[in-house]
């Protein structure tokens, strides 16, 4: 059941263009095709200069976050049938990070912010004497399950108005990754992370716009995670 679909794509080639501009491409596609399939088709048969990142094509690698009809989504997880294809579909790079080319932005700031929150497991206590695993109850494990799902695609952080205004705010994704360790019963550096997140570029910059939660392709309850981190800072408790 092929149908004609038109994508209006924000194009920018730093080697040629002074300013970004829109170009339109019409292709035949199935309702079950992903936006990524359509972009691939355009690149393969209409314009090889169209540039975007992609890898896994099923929502686990986080390469293809972009703005589709004004909303941050993964191109590989957005099927045409979920969009109004009688109208043009607008595809733009995610906001708040420097444009590199077409749908590609420079992710350096995003990853630098991630690294600021000590996004790694810390526990210098002796390992169990038998060399086996540290024990953790299923309930303790469940406590931070939601925030282990993050794929660092950047959809949340680049949907955040606070981040748009100021790149030094670590952003929702970094907080999600801090949360993953703060609430892990085996980790021992929660206090240090909370101290970082209590600072000028931390959680209190969040204005609870909920954009992040709506943008997350992994359906992580980001606003809730941020609230839990705020509460931990205020109460000094990790329950």
């Amino acid at each position: 059941m092929l149908e004609k679909v038109t994508l209006k794509i924000l194009r920018y080639n730093p080697e040629k263009d002074a300013q970004p501009h829109y170009e339109r491409y019409t292709v035949e596609a199935e309702p079950t095709d992903r936006i990524l399939d359509v972009l691939e088709k355009i690149k393969a048969y209409q314009d090889g200069t169209l540039t975007f990142r992609r890898s896994c094509a099923h929502g686990v690698c986080g390469s293809c976050a972009m703005r589709i009809n004004g909303r941050n989504r993964l191109a590989c997880k957005t099927l045409l049938k979920t969009l109004d294809t009688s109208k043009e579909i607008t595809v733009e790079p995610i906001l708040g990070l420097p444009r590199v080319k077409d749908l590609i932005v420079d992710m350096t700031t995003f990853f630098d912010n991630y690294k600021k929150v000590m996004p790694y497991f810390i526990n210098d206590e002796p390992l169990p004497e038998d060399g086996r695993e540290r024990l953790q109850s299923p309930e303790e494990r469940a406590r931070f399950d939601d925030t282990t799902k993050c794929i660092l695609c950047g959809a949340c952080t680049t949907a955040c108005p606070t981040f748009w205004a100021d790149n030094s705010y670590v952003g929702p994704s970094a907080i999600v990754n801090a949360h993953r360790f703060i609430f892990d019963s085996r980790d021992r550096a929660a206090a240090e992370r909370l101290k970082i997140l209590a600072g000028d570029s931390g959680v209190f910059r969040c204005r609870t716009a909920f954009n992040c939660t709506e943008a997350c392709p992994r359906e992580i309850k980001i606003t809730k995670a941020i609230a839990e981190v705020k509460r931990a800072i205020i109460t000094g408790r990790l329950d």
């Binding site: 048969y45 090889g48 890898s55 099923h58 790694y120 695993e133 024990l135």
Partner: protein, 599 residues
């Protein structure tokens, strides 16, 4: 044009599980750089779902010996038994190491690492499936990738993200570095090194239906071949039984581990007929073949080329009762919709997103999907790359993970052994490469080190033909799926080989649209296709020569395994005149003599 030069004792190509594990260990002792065409967290290790195997015995009795035997049997006796034993006995230590790095495994009520059954993993005494796959829901690979990347950040490992390695530099027969293009600028960089570790993953993009990422284009094997080095056992490529129909997206074997069953158009659980003991949990080659036979004999759903994977609680409970499956405490195994949702959240999300199917309420349409390379760059247990059938070591060159062939998977890999392979041998690679570097000098770099890589790119940029890259790719994928897939024949493979060679000729007449420097993915996609064509050619030539059926290599015209003539590894070279030369080397057999393989 200016070329930027860097110097590190150890350079690692690829930042998936094997590359990152190697980086953690190499960087403890040597200056180390990781070069990857993707941001590390985008690597395909992250797509692995069901688990990593280790005989921890957290839920029921298990032993590394059983894991070893199961892997040997799974390999259809083509795996090297010394390497398999090494891996399976290391497994518990490595899984604990991952846990100590913070990996959030699911937990048993006692707080230990949770384990589930997986295909081909058994209690060797009862023959029943054993719970050996350590898991974090159905995103175990994601957790391994994230954990290793996090630890690399903690340990200040140096990364060159979004640099595509184009060529290996060899001086005096030793590895001396790599040439890479910085994708964001188009600049060429030379990385001068004492030791190089190749960890670029697989090449499932050779086939039309695949679970593999776009990035899986066989870059390292193709590079190796251009250096006159061989690749091993390329004819063995795994088709995973359960890919989402038409899309190929992986549906973990963990679904069957949790009690899901495969069903044909007549509503039969057909695996009973093919593997009476373990049924749906037979090895992947066995299950994929059974599915092809069912479809060929007209029992695909509605006569189409797919079957159902059914994990609805009522179905799971029905067959669990028939099989007499019990929980560890001896009570009958029964699941609820909530259990399925909790254990397989990502699978349910994929099915809802891409199919509009809720697996708790409807069965999933599945077909076999190109999934994993058992073959690759030949190495020994220390991950040193081997130059010939006499196992001559290439000094300074290492390979680990899917692009390597140790060989621990032989003719067919067991589920969960890929994640194990990449942590075990990634670690070995890091340790041995750093050790080698400590005792080695930097070889002097030739002035023209980058010339070959540059000329490859220039050839594509300057080519003024009328062939489109996408057309060549499409024809290759179709041909390989059709003729070098689950079932193969002499005639079909010869046609495929002729076709691939025709496509390689046509590749010389492509044109691309993008001639810029910044993020020229048009150029790099074409370059990757040249790798895929090289890999497809050597896969087909290796397969054509092997006149038997073993593991994933299944021939209609030679349906039996032939240990007399073919219990040996293939080594394949592409000579300068383009001819492919095949030689063979013996399989290492220690404890387990080949016998008939029954599940």
């Amino acid at each position: 044009m200016s070329i930027k030069t860097h110097q590190y004792e150890v350079v690692i190509v690829g930042a998936g599980g094997a590359g990152l594990m190697a980086a953690l260990y190499a960087s403890k002792k040597a200056s180390t750089a990781v070069i990857s065409k993707l941001y590390p967290s985008r690597s395909h290790t992250g797509a692995a779902q069901g688990g990593i195997s280790a005989a921890l015995g957290n839920i029921e009795e298990d032993r590394p010996e059983w894991h070893t035997y199961d892997t040997v049997k799974g390999s259809d006796y083509l795996g090297d038994q010394d390497a398999i034993e090494f891996m399976c006995f290391k497994a518990p230590e490595l899984v604990y190491e991952l846990e100590h790095m913070g990996l959030p495994f699911d937990r048993t009520p006692e707080g230990r690492i949770m384990q589930r059954p997986f295909g081909g993993h058994t209690n060797n005494e009862t023959g029943k499936p054993v719970r050996r796959a350590c898991h974090a829901a159905d995103r175990t690979g994601h957790m391994i990738l994230q954990t290793l990347y996090q630890q690399c950040i903690k340990n200040n490992v140096t990364f060159f993200d979004e640099f595509q390695v184009l060529d290996l530099i060899m001086v005096n027969g030793k590895a001396a570095g790599v040439v890479a293009i910085e994708i964001a600028t188009g600049d060429i960089h030379v990385f001068h090194a004492k030791a190089v570790i190749l960890a670029t993953g697989g090449w499932g993009r050779v086939w039309e239906i695949t679970s593999n990422a776009y990035a899986y284009t066989g870059d390292a094997p193709a590079m190796i071949l251009r250096k006159g080095l061989p690749v091993e056992d390329m004819e063995f490529f795994q088709f995973h039984p359960t890919g989402i129909y038409k899309l190929g997206i992986l549906i973990t074997e963990g679904v069957r581990g949790e009690g899901g069953v495969l069903i044909n158009d007549k509503g039969e659980r057909f695996m009973e007929r093919y593997a009476p003991h373990v049924k749906d949990l037979a090895s992947r080659d066995v299950v994929s073949r059974a599915m092809y036979i069912e479809m060929k004999e007209g029992r695909g759903i509605n006569g189409q080329r797919y079957l159902y994977l059914d994990v609805r609680p009522e179905t799971v409970n029905k067959y669990a009762k028939i099989d007499g499956r019990t929980n560890p405490d001896g009570t009958p195994y029964q699941v609820t919709a909530e259990d399925i949702l909790r254990k397989l959240p990502d699978i349910i999300d994929f099915c809802k997103t891409y199919l509009g199917v809720d697996p708790v309420k409807e069965p999933m349409p599945v077909q076999p999907t190109a999934h994993y390379a058992m073959g690759g760059i030949p190495t020994n247990i220390k991950t040193e790359v081997l130059a010939d059938e006499k196992n001559t070591v290439v000094p300074g060159l290492y390979a680990a993970g899917e692009n390597a062939c140790v060989s621990v998977h032989g003719a067919n890999r067991l589920g969960t052994n890929s994640l194990l392979d990449l942590v075990v041998f990634g670690k070995e690679a890091g340790i041995h490469a750093a050790e080698y570097a400590a005792g080695a000098q930097f070889e002097p770099l030739p002035d023209d080190a980058a010339d070959y890589a540059r000329s490859q790119l220039d050839a594509i940029l300057n080519s003024k033909g009328n062939e489109r890259v996408a057309d060549i790719a499409k024809e290759m994928k179709h041909e390989m799926m059709d003729k070098v897939g689950v079932f193969r024949t002499e005639e079909g493979m010869q046609e495929a080989l002729d076709k691939i060679r025709e496509l390689k000729e046509r590749f010389k007449h492509i044109h691309i649209d993008d001639h810029g420097k910044v993020f020229n993915t048009d150029l790099l996609t074409a370059w990757e296709l040249s790798n895929l064509l090289d890999v497809a050619e050597i896969t087909t030539a290796s397969a054509l020569a092997r006149k038997e059926s073993r593991g994933a290599h299944s021939r209609d015209d030679y349906p039996k395994r032939d240990d007399q003539n073919w219990l040996k590894h293939t080594l394949a070279w592409r000579r300068e005149n383009g001819e492919i030369e095949l030689r063979y080397k013996p399989v290492v057999i220690t404890k387990y003599q080949p016998k008939e393989r029954v599940y």
